[in-house]
Amino acid sequence: MLWIWWQLIIRYAWTWRLRTAVQVLAITVGVSLGYAVSLINGAALAEFNAALREINGEADAVIEGSRTGFDEQLYARVATDPAVQMASPVLATDVLVAGTPDEYPPRLTVLGIDVLRAAALSPTLMGDRPGTVDSPASRFAIFGDGILLSPSALARFNVAVGDLLSVQAGGGTVALKVRGTLPGVRPGSLLGVMDLGFAQWRLGGLGRLTRIDLRLADGVSLEALRARLDLPAGVNLAGPDATGARLANLSRAYRVNLNVLALVALFTGGFLVFSLQAQGTLARRAQFAWLRAAGLERGQLKRLLVAEAVSIGTVGSVLGLFAGAAIARAALAALGGDLGGGYFNVGQPVLGFPLLTAAGFAGLGILAAVAGSYLPAREAAHTPPAAALHAGGAEEVLRPLGRIWPGLALLLAAGVLLTLPPVSGVPLPAYLAIGAILTGAIALQPRIARLVSRPLANCLQATRAGTRAPMLLLAANRMVQAPGAAAIAMAGIVASFGLMVAMGTMVSSFRGTLDGWLVQVLPADLYARVGQSTTDAWLPPADLQRISTHPGVQRVEFSRAVPVQLAADRAAVVVVARMIDAADPGAALPLVGSPLAWQPDMPPPVWVSEAMVDLYGAQVGGMLELPLAGRLQRFAVMGVWRDYARQFGSVAMRAEDYQRLTGDRTRTDAAIWLRLGVQAADVSRELLQTLESREVIELRAPDEIRALSLRIFDRSFAVTYVLEAAAILIGMIGVAATFSSQAMARSREFGMLRHIGVTRGQILRVLALEGALATVNAIVVGLLAGLVIALVLIRVINPQSFHWSMQLIVPFGLIAGLIVALLACATGTAAIAGRRAISTSPLRAVHEDW
C-alpha cells in the first residue's frame, strides 16, 4: 500500500509539480485569508475588551445611561443599597481637543471619577502624579483642575505634565492642567482622568453621571438588583461585559461579512482543487484500472485518492496558517484593528494565535480539498477497469456532471434559504444561499455549455461557415461533445467571476446610492458642526448668534444630535432634532416610501431610519417610546428615512418638540444658506476668525463633505477589494493549470489531428477557440450567478446586517473590463498550455496508448 501511495501520489505530485502547487496554493490562499481576518477581528475585540476592563476594573456590574447620562441622585440611592458593596460614580465625557492640525478635531474620552472610590475598582485610573510619593502637597491635586492623560494622549496632543490642554466641552473651551499620566492605560488609547466634581463643573456635566460601577454584596444577582433599583427610563443595569458585548454586536455584521469574503477565497479554492483533481484522476485512469485489475479494492482506491486530497489540504492549510499570521500582522500595522471599517476606537491590538481557530481553518482547508476531490475519487473508484482502460472514455466519466437535478436542487435550496430570517443578526441563511447559487450554477454549467454550443455548432454547419472556419467548428463541437471537460476547467472561474460581479455590483450600488443620498441630505451651501453625535460638545450659544447674523448668511437651520440608549446590548440610537415641516417631511429628509400625515391631536411626530424598523420594530403609523431627559416619551412614527450615516438607528424629530420635551436648547450642527453671490469660502473664513469654537468647529461645503464621505467609504471597502482580487487571482491560476493539464491529456487527440494533416498552428487556434468558448460560457454563467448574488447582497444581506437599503446600480464598465481581461487570459492560457501538449511528436502521441 505504501508503494502504491508512493507511486500514485508522491511521484504524480512531483511529475505534475505545477498542478500540485496550484492546488496547494488555492487552499493556502483561502486558509490564509480566512485565518488572517479572523485573527485581526479577534485581536481587535480582545484589545477593546482589555481596554474596557482597564477602565471598568473589577466591577461586577455597571449602571449605564446613554451619553447624556442620568441624574446623580440615583447614585445616593444605589450606593446605600444593601445589595451594593461599593459604588463608583463616573461621568464619561467625550471632548474635542483644540489646536491640533487634524482634519477632524480629535476626540478625547475624559472619565470623571471619584478617585477615592474608583481606587478599589479601577486601580489603573489612579495614574502616576509626579511628586505624589513624597510630597503631601500633590496628594489632593486630583481634586482640583488637574487631568491625568494616557501616554498615547500625551503624545497625540503633544503635551507634557505641567502643560495646559485646551478642550471643547459642552458649549465652551476649558484649559486643563496636565497633572500626571496614566501609565497603566494601554498604548493607543486616548484617555483622560479627572476628578468627578471638577469634571461635572468644567465639562458641562453638573448634576449628571453616565455610569456607576458596582461591586455587589455576596450572593446578590443582577436580576434581583435590577428589580429593586427601579432605574429610570434609558438607564440600564448590566453585567461587566455589556459594553464589550455591545461592541461585538455592533461590529458583528461587518466582521461576519469579512469572514465570509475570506471564506469565499477558500470556496473558490475548493472548486479549483476539484477542477485539477478531476483532471488528475482522468489522466491516471489507466493506472487506476491496472491497479484495480491487479486486485486493489474499490474502497481502497477511493481512500487513496481522498488521502491524496488530505495531503494537499494539509500542506496548503499549514502554509495558509503561517501566511495568514503574516498577513494579519501586516494588515494590523497598516490598517488597524478594524481594517478601515471604523468600528473600534482602540489602541494597538496584540495578535494572539489561538490554537482552536487555527485548527478550525486548517480543518476548513482540508475539507475544501477533500470536497473538491470527492467526486473525482468516487468516479475513479466506480469506473469498471475495462472501461477505464479503453481510451477516450473520459467524457463518459464526466457524464454524471451533466446531470441537471443537482444544480436545480441547489438553486431551489437557495430560494428556500432566502426566505429565512437572519440568525441573531447575521444573515447566515442568505450567505448559505449564495454558496448554493454558485455551486448550482457551476453544476448546471455543462448543460448550459451544451445548450449554448449546440446551436453554434449547428449554425456553423448549416451556414457552411464551418468550412470557412473549421477550427471554430471543431471547437464548438468539442463543447457539444465534451461539455464536462470545459465545465471542470471553468468551475473556479465561474465561482470567482460570479463573486466578483456580485461584489462589484453591490459596492457600486452602495456607493452610487450613498452619493445620491449625500446630494439629497446636503441642500445648504455650508455646514457647521461641533463634534459628532458621540461627543459631548456643542455650539457655544454666542456662536449660534454669530452665524445667524453674519451678513452673508440668508438663513440657518440648527440641529442637535443626541445619542439615546434603547437597549443595553445595542449601540445607541441617535435622536436628530431639526427643522422639519410635519406637513412636508420629504423636504428635510430622504424618505423611503410615503409618510403619513401628522395631526395635531397625535403625539409628537418622528421619522425613523430603516435600522429602527429592523432593530426596534418601529412601524409607520405606530408609536415609539424614547427615553428623553430621564422620562419615557411617546412619539408617533410618521415615516421612514434612509440614513447611511448612522447604522444603528436614528430618529428625526422636530427641533421644537425636542426642546419642549427636554429643555435642551443646545445645538451641534448648522446648515447655512448663503445670500446670492456670496462665496462659501469667504463666509467660512470670516466665521473661523470670529467664532468662539473656531478651534474645534468644522465648517465644510457640501462638496467637501461628499468627497470626504466617499473617501471614507472607499477606505472601508479597501479590504473587500483585496479579498475579491485574491479570489479572482486563484480563479485565473486555476484556468491556467486546468487548461494545461487538459491539453496534456489530449495529446493523443492532437497527435491524431496532426496525423491527418492539421497544422500545429491550427491546433493551437482550436485550443484558443475552445478556451474562448469555454470562457464565454463561464462568463455567461458567472455573470448570471453574480447578478443574482448581487441582488441577494443588496436586497437581503445588507438590509439584514447593516439595516439599509440601496438601489441596484450595475457597474457595466467594471464588468466589461473583467470580461475582456478574463477572455484574453483564458484564451492565451489555453493556447500556451496547448503548445506544450503538441510539442511531442504525433507518432508518439498516437502510440502512447497502445
Binding site: E72, Q73, Y75, A76, A79, T80, P89, G112, D114, V115, L116, R117, A119, A120, T132, V133, D134, S135, P136, A137, R139, F140, A141, F143, G144, D145, D195, L196, G197, F198, Q200, W201, L206, G207
Partner: protein, 360 residues
C-alpha cells in the same frame, strides 16, 4: 492610618497651589467653646477629628480598640457647585488590638462628603462614612458607634459622666512656638463602654473604658517638628492624664512643644509646667515592615510623679495604605506608677519610620 498629628503635619504642607482661588481657613484664636455646638463639626477649619480609644474586656483577656473619624477641608475651589466637588473629605479608621493575635486588626474608609454617604454634621457629634457612624445622643450624652469593618464588626455605646475636659488654655491647645500653631481641643475621659464585638462569626459582649478626643484646627506645625508622642490615660482612681510632646527633627534638640494635664476624679485640673515634664524611651520595638524603632515603653515624668507605659502588645503599628499612607504606632498601653498598674489608655507615636510615604 492617619493620626491626628500626622494629619496636621500633612495638611500643614497643603499650601494652596498657585493659580487657583485660594481657600481661606479660619485661624485658631482664643474663644469660649460652646456645647453642644462644639461637639459638632467645624467645616471651615482645615482639619478635625473625633478620636475614640479604649480597653475592653476583663483583666484575663483585655482588648484595645480605636475608632476615629477625620474631616479634612481641601483646597478645592469653593466656587465649584458640583455635589461631587471634594470640598470635604471624611476618613475613618478602626482597629482592634488583641494580644492573642499579636498584630492589629484594622480597616479604614475614605470618601468625599456628600449624598448622605459621608458626612460630619454641624451642631453635635454625628459622623458617618459608608455605613460606619459615630453619634452623640444629646439627651443622654452617650456616644453610639457602629463600625462594620472587613474583619470585624464593632458596635458600642460610650457614656460620659462629666462635662468635656477643655485641654490647654480653656480648649485652645498650643502645638508650636507661634501663637497660631494651635488647635481647639477637648477630651471626654473615663467613658463607660458597652460593646458588641463580632469576629470570625463569634459575637462577644464586652464592657470597658474609653477616651474621646475632639480637635480641630487650620494651623501649620513648626517646620522642624519630626513627630509626636501622645498619651491619654484613664486612671483607676477616676482621674485622667493627657500628655504629649512634639519632637524636634534635629537630634539632641529639646522638644518643639510639650504638654501635660491631670484631671482629678472630682474634675479639678492640674496643668503641668513644661519644665516639669519629660518623655524618656525605655524599650524599643523594631518594625520589620517599616524601618522604624518604636519606643513602645516610655517613662513620663510629671513633676514629682514618674509614670511608665507598658504596651498591651508590641506590634501595634498601623499602615494606612488606602487612605493616607502614613505609618504610625497607636497602641493600647497600661500606665504604671512605681511598677504598679494605675491606669489604662493609649500611647500614640508618629514620625519614627524612615520611609514615610504618602500614597494618595
Amino acid at each position: 492610618m492617619l493620626t491626628r498629628r500626622r494629619l496636621l503635619l500633612t495638611l500643614a504642607a497643603l499650601a494652596a497651589p498657585a493659580g487657583r482661588a485660594a481657600v481661606s481657613y479660619p485661624q485658631v484664636l482664643p474663644r469660649a467653646l460652646v456645647f453642644p455646638q462644639d461637639f459638632g463639626a467645624h467645616p471651615d477649619f482645615r482639619t478635625e477629628w473625633w478620636y475614640l480609644t479604649g480597653w475592653l474586656g476583663g483583666p484575663a483577656q483585655p482588648l484595645g480598640f480605636q475608632v476615629t473619624f477625620f474631616r479634612s477641608r481641601t483646597d478645592v475651589d469653593p466656587a465649584n457647585p458640583s455635589a461631587f466637588a471634594a470640598h470635604q473629605l471624611v476618613i475613618a479608621h478602626a482597629a482592634i488590638a488583641d494580644p492573642a493575635r499579636g498584630a492589629l486588626l484594622v480597616d479604614e474608609r475614605i470618601a468625599r462628603a456628600g449624598f448622605g454617604l459621608a458626612e460630619t454634621a454641624v451642631g453635635d457629634t454625628d459622623a458617618r462614612l459608608s455605613g460606619w457612624s459615630l453619634r452623640r445622643d444629646p439627651a443622654t450624652d452617650i456616644y453610639h458607634a457602629r463600625i462594620a469593618a472587613r474583619d470585624f464588626s464593632l458596635g458600642f455605646t460610650a457614656s460620659a459622666s462629666a462635662a468635656p475636659w477643655l485641654q490647654g488654655e480653656a480648649g485652645l491647645s498650643h502645638k508650636g512656638p507661634e501663637p497660631l500653631q494651635a488647635s481647639y481641643y477637648y477630651s471626654r475621659p473615663q467613658l463607660k463602654v458597652q460593646a458588641q464585638l463580632e469576629r470570625n462569626g463569634q459575637l462577644q459582649k464586652l464592657a470597658g473604658i474609653a477616651w474621646l478626643d475632639h480637635e480641630w484646627s487650620s494651623a501649620a506645625l513648626a517646620a522642624d517638628a519630626a513627630g509626636w508622642d501622645w498619651i491619654g490615660m484613664n486612671l483607676d482612681d477616676g482621674s485622667a492624664l493627657a500628655a504629649f510632646q512634639i519632637r524636634s527633627g534635629q537630634a539632641g534638640r529639646p522638644p518643639v512643644q510639650t504638654y501635660a494635664a491631670l484631671r482629678a476624679a472630682n474634675g479639678a485640673v492640674q496643668l503641668i509646667p513644661p519644665a516639669q515634664l519629660g518623655f524618656t524611651p525605655l524599650r524599643h520595638w523594631n518594625s520589620s515592615r517599616h524601618r522604624a524603632a518604636w519606643p513602645v515603653a516610655q517613662r513620663i515624668t510629671i513633676g514629682t510623679r514618674v509614670f511608665e507605659t507598658r504596651p498591651l502588645m508590641d506590634d501595634q503599628e498601623l499602615d494606612s495604605s488606602l487612605t493616607t499612607g502614613a505609618v504610625y504606632w497607636e497602641g493600647a498601653s497600661e500606665l504604671l506608677e512605681g511598677g504598679r498598674p494605675v491606669g489604662r489608655g493609649y500611647l500614640e507615636m508618629t514620625g519614627y519610620p524612615e520611609d514615610t510615604r504618602f500614597i494618595l
